[in-house]
Symmetry: C2
Subunit: 127 residues, 2 copies
């Protein structure tokens, strides 16, 4: 079985609360994290919640990175879903850990798209 | 421990290839899936790859839904990350399963943001 993608699900706890509620800063950090990992950004959308909290997603040529913050708990959930050998999502993970000033984190790495050897013959895609 | 969010990671195999390469249709289906789950859409971004494949993310007030397709493998990875009791992400999962005409799927549900009882006192968020 080969995997098409790798998906890191990160939980950053005990972060700097003021950063978790700053859309412009989070957008900048997530873009920088994507670039540091070697990804190519193709689109993004960020949203500020009332009274607090930010959600944002960056679509990269190699899948996506997504963030949701709960400043009231000092917590951010961040996903780093990448494919290909050229991108190192752990560089993005480390960068966000530092930028959010997280004192505690947990993370899981899951493989996505397990393709069986016998089906690895590419299908004809109509264009 | 209480969880702030629920994250379904779905792998749809043996899908209809022509659908997996149709950005407009996928965008429509993902929006409809979000609405069927009870989510409130706040933004979205979709991207068509050359020669084939689509990535798209919908930011919802309750977190996000994301999709990446590999038409050449008949495969789509779709995430349904939601928070709150009002949204049922499994309705979105079932809807996408039907719309992609997937003959085989696998899925995992993970809890995100495990907040310990002693830290459930809300922090003061500067506005």
């Amino acid at each position: 079985m080969n995997a098409l993608g790798s998906h890191i699900l990160a939980e950053y706890y005990d972060c700097d609360i003021s950063i978790l509620n700053n859309l412009e800063l989070l957008k900048q950090y997530m873009h920088e994290a994507a670039i540091k990992s070697g990804a190519t950004i193709v689109g993004s959308t960020f949203h500020q919640y009332n009274p607090h909290g930010v959600s944002g997603v960056i679509v990269i040529a190699e899948s996506h990175m997504a963030m949701h913050t709960w400043p009231e708990y000092g917590y951010a959930a961040v996903d780093f879903f990448t494919c290909g050998e050229r991108v190192d999502p752990w560089k993005a993970f480390d960068y966000m850990n530092k930028k959010l000033k997280s004192a505690k984190n947990s993370k899981k790495e899951l493989k996505r798209g397990l393709i069986e050897a016998e089906s690895q013959k590419l299908l004809e895609v109509p264009l």
